[in-house]
């Protein structure tokens, strides 16, 4: 067996280099941990994300109600189903107002248009408005704003329906 001879000097140099690389990697890990987005200081540990929107009968068919605190719109479709639509435009994150006269959402930033289902009627928005989960219990509409559901377009099974209907 032929062994390459490593002098003590080069061995120690390599050792120092290796340790240096390890120390640098540790430093990077520390930086990453330090800068990772954290929970805001003021927020409680387990923030309540479920918003009680109200009784089913409070919402007329074909109407859209804004919930400022939850940052969503509750849309009641013509067939009685409920959708909780994010108010954030999927194009560049502007807040989309509901224009009730025209029965559609019109983004003021780059004039994307969405219908009551959140579907894109007019670009540049690339996909339908995000959804939040709607749960109907005892005829009360609850919206879980903790989970944002991304989608490309509206499908009928995305809506939640009250039991009797």
């Amino acid at each position: 067996m032929e062994q390459e001879k490593i002098s003590r000097r080069s061995f120690l140099n390599k050792l120092w280099m290796g340790l240096g690389v390890v120390a640098f990697a540790e430093f990077i890990v520390l930086l990453v941990a330090f800068f990772k987005p954290r929970k805001p200081r003021s927020a409680p540990q387990e923030q309540e994300t479920v918003v009680l929107a109200g009784a089913v009968d409070n919402f007329e068919r074909g109407s859209v109600t804004a919930f400022v605190r939850g940052k969503f719109y509750l849309a009641r479709l013509d067939n009685g189903g409920f959708l909780a639509l994010s108010r954030t435009c999927t194009h560049l994150g502007c807040t989309v107002p509901w224009v009730s006269d025209e029965n559609r959402f019109v983004c003021p930033c780059h004039s994307s248009v969405f219908d009551i289902n959140g579907d894109v009627v007019d670009p540049p928005a690339p996909r339908a408005l995000d959804l939040f989960e709607v749960r109907i219990e005892n005829n009360l509409v609850n919206v879980d704003t903790g989970k944002r559901i991304k989608r490309t377009s509206f499908e009928p099974n995305q809506a939640a329906y009250p039991k009797q209907a």
Partner: protein, 449 residues
């Protein structure tokens, strides 16, 4: 008082090189600031029509920005609740507070422009050729830091303009595949702009970027000395008479620099006395203003976004341009055109031609897309139709201009590369102008000056 004399002489100690001759320029080696400079410079390096004092103006503006920024730090509070109020307080209650804010704002914008013009000057005088290749790269780095400084500072007033400009600018990152959304949430400190965003931007704006500038700028200057000073302006086909006649840095260069420093300070002061820095209502995350625009220096990118698939507008086009700028000094050019404006007379004609073509083409294509193509196909942007195809068309135009200049017009490589650079730069400037002044409510094409 003997003590004062001995303290004074301890500060201005004698240099081992300097004699007692008052006319010996080496006596300035005693001076801390002047010892960064050579004692003598070529007389022709003083030519104003080479540099237009753009590097000096940028440096002066940087010092002014740091000085005014220090003062602003004593008033500003980086929290969403108080940021806006502290800016209002600054303008209303603090003596000269509004003037101070105006100076900081206009100096920041002016620095962007002088640095950009400096970049153009260096390019069009071939001053980025060897041995100054790497200083071009450092300069691009400095320019990036300046843009980021402007961008992070833009959010700090926390008004409707700044909040939504930062919202849409950072939302561009969502279109960068795989890592974009993660990077965005790191920059913002969460999914959307909030208290963490303001803290991040404040720290980056007032500590990270200024320190980066303070380290990189002396490096930039030192490389100029390593290259034996700035490039010497000469007429096309002129051979430089060597050795060049030299003049003493003091007073010939320094007096010119002091004069230009005062011109810059006076200009900023005059503008700041007349025009107030914009401040809209306090930021309201529930209501986007119409139209919402990115900061003006990103309007070119926003305009590209109006016509291209976001993946191309946010990532592929900026990455291609950046790679091109980095590669420029390392192309093997076939002529030594250092110090000659636009390489040659033919180069000047070609560059002018390229600029005209760029303006006509950009305006024409924007109108075509807005008035014809988008109206007929109102559907979400498609990766091939709105991304790949127009991008390849742009590449083809660039390559076509290069080939045309080389083959048909028998241009040198320097002149042909210059023509393509001009095409791209003037197109980008045209897009920026369209975005700033010709996009109104709903981002419709109209006069919106």
């Amino acid at each position: 008082m003997k003590i004062f004399q001995s303290v004074r002489s301890s500060i201005r100690s004698g240099s081992p090189y300097a004699g007692n001759d008052p006319d010996d320029p080496r006596k300035y080696l005693k001076n801390f600031l002047l010892h960064f400079r050579p004692t003598a410079v070529p007389e022709r390096a003083l030519s104003f029509t080479l540099t237009w004092a753009l590097g000096l103006a940028s440096t002066v503006l940087l010092v002014l920005l740091m000085a005014s920024g220090f003062l602003l730090k004593f008033v500003y509070e980086p929290t969403p609740v108080y940021a806006y109020d502290s800016i209002v307080h600054l303008g209303r209650d603090v003596p000269f507070g509004q003037l101070l804010r105006n100076m900081h704002r206009w100096s920041g914008y002016a620095l962007l422009m002088t640095a950009f013009l400096h970049l153009l000057r260096v390019f069009y005088t071939s001053a980025f050729h060897a041995p100054r290749q790497f200083n071009w790269i450092i300069g691009l780095g400095l320019f990036t830091v300046i843009v980021l400084s402007n961008f992070t500072g833009y959010l700090l007033p926390w008004d409707q303009i700044s909040y939504w400009a930062i919202t849409i600018s950072t939302s561009l990152l969502d279109y960068v595949p795989w890592i974009g959304t993660t990077i965005k949430s790191w920059i913002l400190g969460g999914p959307e702009p909030g208290p963490a965003t303001l803290m991040n931007f404040y720290a980056i704006h007032t500590a990270v970027l200024p320190v980066m500038l303070l380290f990189a700028l002396p490096f930039h200057f030192w490389r100029i000395r390593k290259a034996n000073g700035i490039v010497i302006q000469r007429a096309p086909d002129e051979e430089l008479p060597l050795p060049l006649p030299m003049v003493n840095t003091v007073p010939h260069l320094v007096s010119r620099e002091i004069a230009m420093t005062f011109v810059v300070l006076a200009a900023i002061l005059a503008v700041s006395m007349v025009f107030n820095a914009p401040l809209a209502e306090q930021a309201n995350p529930g209501m986007s203003p119409n139209p919402t625009k990115a900061p003006w220096y990103f309007m070119g990118i926003q305009e590209i976004l109006m016509h291209f698939h976001p993946l191309f507008a946010a990532l592929i086009i900026p990455a291609t341009l950046t790679a091109g700028l980095l590669y420029l000094p390392y192309i093997s050019y076939d002529a030594d055109t250092r110090g000659v404006w636009f390489c040659s007379r033919k180069g000047r004609k070609l560059a002018f031609l390229a600029a005209v073509v760029a303006i006509a083409l950009t305006v024409g294509l924007v109108l075509l897309d807005d008035l014809v193509l988008s109206v007929n196909t109102p559907s979400p942007p498609n990766l091939v139709r709105n991304g790949l195809l127009p991008f390849l068309a742009m590449l083809a135009i660039g390559t076509g201009v290069y080939a045309l200049a080389r083959r048909r017009l028998a241009a040198s490589k320097n002149e042909a590369v210059q023509a393509v650079f001009t095409l791209v730069m003037v197109s980008f400037i045209t897009l920026t102008v369209i975005g700033i002044w010709f996009r109104g409510a709903g981002m419709q094409l109209m006069w919106a000056g």
